[in-house]
Subunit: 255 residues, 2 copies
Amino acid sequence: MKNVLLVLAHPDSQSLNAQLLSVAQEELQAQGHTVVVSDLYAKNWKAVYDERDFPNRLDETRLSFVAESGHAYRNHTQPSDIVEEQAKLMAADAVVFQFPLWWFGMPAIMKGWIERVFAYGLAYGYRDEGNRFRYGEGGLQGKRAVLSVTVGGPESDYTPRGINGQLEELLFPITHGTLFFSGMEVLPTFAAYDVHRLDVHDIEHTKAALRARMRSLFDDAAIAYRTQNGGEYPDRHILADEIARGCTGLGVHLR
Amino acid sequence: MKNVLLVLAHPDSQSLNAQLLSVAQEELQAQGHTVVVSDLYAKNWKAVYDERDFPNRLDETRLSFVAESGHAYRNHTQPSDIVEEQAKLMAADAVVFQFPLWWFGMPAIMKGWIERVFAYGLAYGYRDEGNRFRYGEGGLQGKRAVLSVTVGGPESDYTPRGINGQLEELLFPITHGTLFFSGMEVLPTFAAYDVHRLDVHDIEHTKAALRARMRSLFDDAAIAYRTQNGGEYPDRHILADEIARGCTGLGVHLR
């Protein structure tokens, strides 16, 4: 049995996001897993990363977030809310992020959770080694992650040639650049589209689909991003010429 | 002469971001433009979009951000901080966003500026017409926008086959999905890389490059994103078969 952290970014307990969070929680518990929830709006999460996060400064004259993050993490001088979320994260075998897609990304409150909790020395600069451990290795290696998003627009807008861009490519800064970067295995995104037009039947269908995803959370194949240190980026972290030869675009980072 | 709004997301007045903001401001003023600054940390900008932004609710039982945003914008019941920023935005002929790239996106405080200021009826759902005016048309049509970012990593990581993904594709949810979506012409991103390793000479070089970009702010060619209503997305907003035939990836949305 595993530990799962669910992170929620919607303030309304009646919202589809809150309903999906509950569905995920119930299904995971039914499977025997232990579930912990971080309901960011309910806990009035401090979204803004600022000098108050570094009560014991390395340098009082200049604020370098990277340097101060490493200093605070290393010396155990982070604020208690960050420490608590890091403890939940480190105890988790998998993390589910449940949020409405706002301007093709996470709500600010959840972005601020990433910024404050994903410290230097842990989620980046692992072991104070700069970029040595990254993309498949790092402080969060061995954990799984999945985004579960509600989307206002129709699914066709998010298809490979849809006007918004493909959903998984829009989320690449999060899935690849944040979660895989830190060492996590990232599962394909779960998305509910056209959420303002769903009827009762559609919502039940969506919930059933999420339940199925939660049942296979520890079995599903992760997105096949290329690892930094597996040999595919031999020179200055640029993809080797012979791999996806002549191609560009975010898709080249997928096996 | 034009009006330019500069939006800054860094709390340290000595930071490279603050220095670049000042450089942009000085250069634009030297050109005779009128410059207004929104220094988000200095003004303690409320980053979290929540029920406090809708003091006069359309529906007290469920919180739909889309519905309440439209209701508040339409009925002039938005909080004063949002109204003030919308007034600055609407007065501007161009907007410069100055921020450090955190997890391949905007800091939460700036994401929260977008979420709260880019209201339904204005930046999306223009004229209460749903998705009719979008990508090249909309409430912000006629304005220019440019992102100016500081980046911790080396430029090679952000090249077309660099491990992070190409910078302009990582920023696509902002440049295409937010700014062009709302009708703005978006200029190529200005980026300073490896910012923790810059010496005095490098910083002067970066500032000179930004000054040059500010001098040509109203002359530079915008990123050639395809417009929604120009005929290239004829059916359900999917790119016509004969355009970039067989291709996928975010790059297909560029002419």
